[in-house]
Amino acid sequence: MRDQRLWTWHVLAGLVIFVVLGLHMTVMHLDTLVGWFNPAGIKPIAWDSVMQRARLGFFTVSYIVLLGAALFHGLYGLRNILFELGIGTGAKKGLSLVLTAGGVALFAYGAWAAWAAGALAKTL
């Protein structure tokens, strides 16, 4: 049922995030030690670095996977914390709806941004 399903995917999403966010953190914050996927050889957040990564389909797909997994994992975690404060049934239903709608909207926007950045990078 619902809670069994949501919890199982929460754990699986966490494991996916461990891998993909680990890669993202290595690229962005361990660049002096490891230097992965920083083809421009400058700061990872410099425009050239960002565009060179965006050109790679692997990054676009990874960002979208990370976005989905992290939104689900984070918002389910928030839902858990708020539910455990002992709120009423009506509040629980309302909260679930708001978090789901917010999560879907953010995912749609973020996925569009990742795709659009990839498309822009290919024109440069």
Partner: protein, 154 residues
């Protein structure tokens, strides 16, 4: 038969913070919640800050300008330290999360035993894993710290 509901006696949020008089797993539980909430807040803003790259180089530069400051300025230091704290929260939450994923799927907690004193509970059985995970988080934190300092000073 009892007809009154009794005086309420739940510990409330203080019950989440009961570490110190118990095992250190209680601290890990509380810290995991706090880092999770911190990461979620950062992440929701991060989606908007980084989506600027879809609108071109000027939009990207403006967005990056909003979350940084000139080198040596207080604003710059604030954002750099803040970002390091996010990295630290990630290091802890990820490593502890792996530990929790293993434990909550029934690994590293030992098999049911006959509890003849002095027995090892699941909390004792998983403690080596907890120590390894904390050391790993420390290593990741140190590596990230070195990287941040490098960028601050070069």
């Amino acid at each position: 038969m009892l007809d009154n509901k009794g005086h309420p006696n739940r510990l409330g949020i203080w019950g989440w913070l009961g570490g110190g008089r118990w095992g250190f797993e209680r601290y890990l539980y509380t810290l995991h919640r706090l880092t999770g909430l911190g990461l979620l807040c950062y992440f929701l803003l991060h989606i908007f800050v980084t989506s600027a790259r879809a609108f071109g180089q000027d939009a990207w530069a403006a967005s990056m300008g909003r979350v940084s400051g000139p080198p040596g300025s207080a604003r710059g230091l604030f954002f750099t330290v803040g970002e390091f704290l996010v990295f630290a929260a990630f290091a802890f939450h990820a490593c502890n999360g792996v530990r929790l994923a293993l434990i909550e799927l029934g690994f590293a907690i030992g098999k049911p035993i006959e509890p003849i004193y002095p027995y090892r509970t699941s909390v004792h059985e998983q403690r080596p894993l907890a120590v390894v995970v904390m050391v790993l988080a420390g290593i990741v934190l140190a590596a990230g710290g070195y990287n941040f300092l490098f960028h601050l000073t070069h």
